[in-house]
């Protein structure tokens, strides 16, 4: 048995019919894989998105942001990226394992990003980072806030922990409204 904590309107895999799914081991995702995957996905979905006048750069940015976080923080295991072309929005979902300690930090950050005014939080993080040494700036949340601030993205998060496990399956879901 496991326990799921959801922040925001998290859509589970049974609720969505993903058009595209990519699962790869973290060991095959070096730092530049974020850009590699973002470009691949943008090229793959180019036609579908152009039909809806969707800006491909937005998708590129979102995938890059999510993949960079996964590459930086994920525990060993699989990184799973799913895209669903829904009626109201493009839904991008990234799931990966996190060590329990990292998951707690990410969960607090996710709650903050979800609840706060994105403009105010963006300014607050910039200010905080300016006063902090670079060594402790990791996980500041600027990337997630920028998704809300610059792309009007809806965010949702899921944290699934199996009993007696130190690993938390973490999902970040970004919904980009059709323009």
């Amino acid at each position: 048995m496991g326990r799921l904590i959801a922040i925001g309107n998290l859509r589970t895999s049974s609720e969505i019919d993903d058009e595209f799914y990519l699962g790869l081991p973290k060991s095959l995702a070096p730092w530049d894989a974020a850009n590699h995957v973002a470009q691949f996905l943008s090229a793959w979905l180019e036609n579908t998105l152009k039909q809806r006048n969707f800006d491909l750069d937005s998708l590129n940015y979102v995938i890059n942001e999510l993949m960079e976080n996964a590459i930086k923080y994920a525990a060993d295991g699989r990184i799973e990226l799913a895209v669903c072309v829904a009626n109201d929005a493009l839904l991008v979902s990234l799931t990966h394992p996190l060590q329990e300690a990292h998951a707690k930090i990410y969960q607090a950050l996710a709650q903050q990003v979800f609840e706060a005014d994105p403009d105010l939080l963006f300014a607050e993080i910039i200010e905080r980072n300016a006063c902090t040494s670079t060594e402790v700036q990791t996980g500041a949340g600027l990337g997630l806030v920028s998704l809300r601030q610059n792309y009007q993205a809806g965010l949702a998060f899921g944290f699934l922990q199996q009993d007696n496990s130190q690993i938390v399956q973490t999902t970040t879901q970004v919904s980009l409204p059709w323009q």
Partner: protein, 159 residues
């Protein structure tokens, strides 16, 4: 699933809207697993044939899977696909004839009347030793290829 496996799953309907998906997908998957140009080229060629098979023969409103896995020095590629009803007879006939050998499959399947899937599938079977299973009545096609990878990333022209 094995943690060292990369899996790509996609809806056939939108996949078949753009022929370039075959190249985009094969270049990505081969590049993810192979650092040496020779291995990448070999893997990309095989994956591209598989994706072209899905493009030509896949039933709309279904999904297809491509998996790539490296274990020791062998790369295993798998394709799972639901075939269009109209192609089943021809495909079953082609699969039954594979044991006859590779002779003249170029001439046999390159003609204008012959569906491209038979040429691509023959290439996978005869040149890359692919194993092919067609399961009826669900029209499920499974193709698996084992590619021995070159051990060294050194360019072959240095010999």
């Amino acid at each position: 699933m094995d943690a060292q496996t990369t899996e790509l799953r996609y809806g056939l309907e939108s996949f078949r809207k753009d022929w370039r998906h075959c190249t985009i997908g094969s270049n990505f998957l081969a590049g993810t697993h192979c650092s040496s140009p020779q291995n990448r080229e070999l893997a990309s060629t095989a994956i591209n044939e598989m994706l072209e098979l899905a493009f030509r023969a896949g039933a709309d409103a279904s999904k297809s899977w491509v998996q790539t896995q490296i274990e020791r020095s062998v790369m295993t590629l798998s394709l799972d696909l639901t075939i269009q009803d109209s192609l089943i007879e021809e495909l079953s006939g082609a699969i039954a004839s594979f044991h006859l050998g590779p002779e003249r499959y170029f001439q046999r399947y390159l003609g204008a009347e012959s569906p491209g899937i038979l040429f691509g599938l023959s290439f996978l079977v005869h040149d890359l030793s692919a194993k092919v299973v067609l399961s009826m009545p669900v029209n499920a096609l499974h193709v698996r290829v084992h590619l021995p990878l070159l051990p060294s990333p050194e360019p072959i022209w240095e010999d």
